[in-house]
Amino acid sequence: MWTINRYPITWLIPALLPVAFMTVYPIAYALWTSLHQVMILFPGEPFVGLDNYKRVVTSNYFHDSLTNSLVFTLLAAPSVVILGLLIALFLQRRFFGSHVIRSIVLLPWVLPGAISAVLWIWVFHPSFGILNGLLAKLGLIDQSIPWLTSPKLALYAVAVAHIWTQIPFAVVLLMAALAAINSETLEAGAIDCRSPVKRFRYIIYPEIKSMLVVLLVYNALTAFTSYDLVYAMTGGGPGTATTLLSFQIWRESFSMYDFGAGSAVAFIVVAISAVLIIAITRALPSDLFAGEEP
């Protein structure tokens, strides 16, 4: 690490400026909107203070959708990282056809959310879905299970679909991180340590920890703010079983045309996400932040 005394603006501004355009300005706009009464039907935009927040938090939907979002995030983010790690470790092996599998693992990644949704509706469909057909053939179930229309199962079903779409990215980055480990370290480890579990714990894990943290944070974020896949699969139903907090933004803004309330929900989502990311980076100190302090 070398020190530069002046802020290196020419190196950073190309990256920071577009991101600021995507965040600072819209957030400021949303903050202003969340404090005013902004409805298409009523002209004039009077200042209403925290009324929008009060109305949103006390609404019937809020508690359900917040719980759903948290459960969904806690289900999806660790699953993606663990499954991604298992697959990445496995794909280190060389065997006949390993190249084919490496490519096929990427398949879910190339698909826009709406397409993945259709594929998984097809898997979970109660009458002609492949999952029920398979379970029936194996004799495990007598009647078809309504995966997407049962309030108990729907959230888990959409979580599986979401995990499916997020795994390839985790695998790619973890394989790159695994490949970047010094091969001499690995050879020394193979000699000193016979147990593969211990070898992972003491040799591989410290090397890829920063990548795991990045992935966990990223996946918590995508899960907490995802909407298109889940929305396309269930439309938030049955009832409110799969209504996520991020839908509420959409619902308040574009189906109730109450942009003030929509922005208020957006702000709550941003705040919770911020708590989440800080908690995760604190819980797992990594070399990602080493040397950040001047």
């Binding site: 690490m1 070398w2 020190t3 530069i4 802020y7 290196p8 190196w11 950073l12 190309p14 990256a15 577009p18 991101v19 995507m22 965040t23 819209p26 957030i27 706009y29 496995f90 092996r93 065997f95 056809g97 190249h99 599998i101 490519s103 693992v105 398949l107 990644w109 190339v110 698909l111 826009p112 709406a114 397409i115 949704a117 259709v118 594929l119 998984w120 097809w122 009458s127 795994i167 790619v172 980055l173 394989m175 790159a176 490949a179 970047a180 050879e187 090397e207 990045v214 990223y218 909407y227 298109d228 396309a232 933004i249 942009f259 929509g262 941003v270 911020a274 990311i277 950040e292 001047p294």
Partner: protein
Amino acid sequence: MNQRYNPVATFVFAALILLFTGGPVLLSLVGSLVPDRVLLDPKIGLFDQGINFQNYRYVFTGQLPDAYLTADANRAMISDAARQIPRSLWNSTVIALSSMALNLLLGAPAAFLFARYVFPGKKLSFMFLILSPLVPTVALVTPIYMTLQAAGLVGTQWGIILVHTAKALPFTVLILSVFFRKMPSELFEAAMLDHCSRFQAFYRIALPLALPSIGATGLFAFMLSYSEYMFSMVLSGDAQTRPVSVVMAALARNTDVSWSLLNTGIFIAIIPTLLLVVLIWRFVVEDLLRGSVKG
């Protein structure tokens, strides 16, 4: 490492991975090759009526599949929207490639600085980059749409490219800086002794060595753009400029479209990216495994 693996366990695990990741896509391939009535009727075996490529022919030439020309066929099940797919694939490719190039161009210098230098305001800038993708997309759409409309970019591909670039940049910088930090610092110390400027150290040493990682990161930017839906939908104009995610979502939400035609669209949308992914993945992985980037 010459380790012996249990071949049975390897096979079982490989089969499980294939089934989980490839299974739903395989279903859509099968679905695109057989007529609807076979898919929806459990009494007819999947391949009893043979397979055909007529849905694919329809998408590219407009010639209707035979299954829809019979007397009692429901003609509403076939949608003109499917014919927009070839054009939308080209649009998506242009947008995603531009966004990828812009990402690497704008992001690599910043990532290099974050990885190897200490400067005032570093932590603040880095936190800003990490925290910015937190903002839910739904909350951003309205203000950004209004700004781009004022700039006259709505309905053009430039608006979408700009937004996709900005959306992927935090991740590009984050991932690249992890890779740049993994490089041995002796290299840069040697460069310093040889009186390399900061730019020369970046351009002549860091960039060539990190090329595989840069490829992997570019791939990510490409994919993010290719599959992004919300901004593409809001910012794209007529059918001529629409990217594939928008066209596919319209098809998927149209409950009248036949399953076979929908599956055909899905599969056509997969093929070109799959080719690209396989190529870059091979190139990237083989370079990585050859050890050109050493920790």
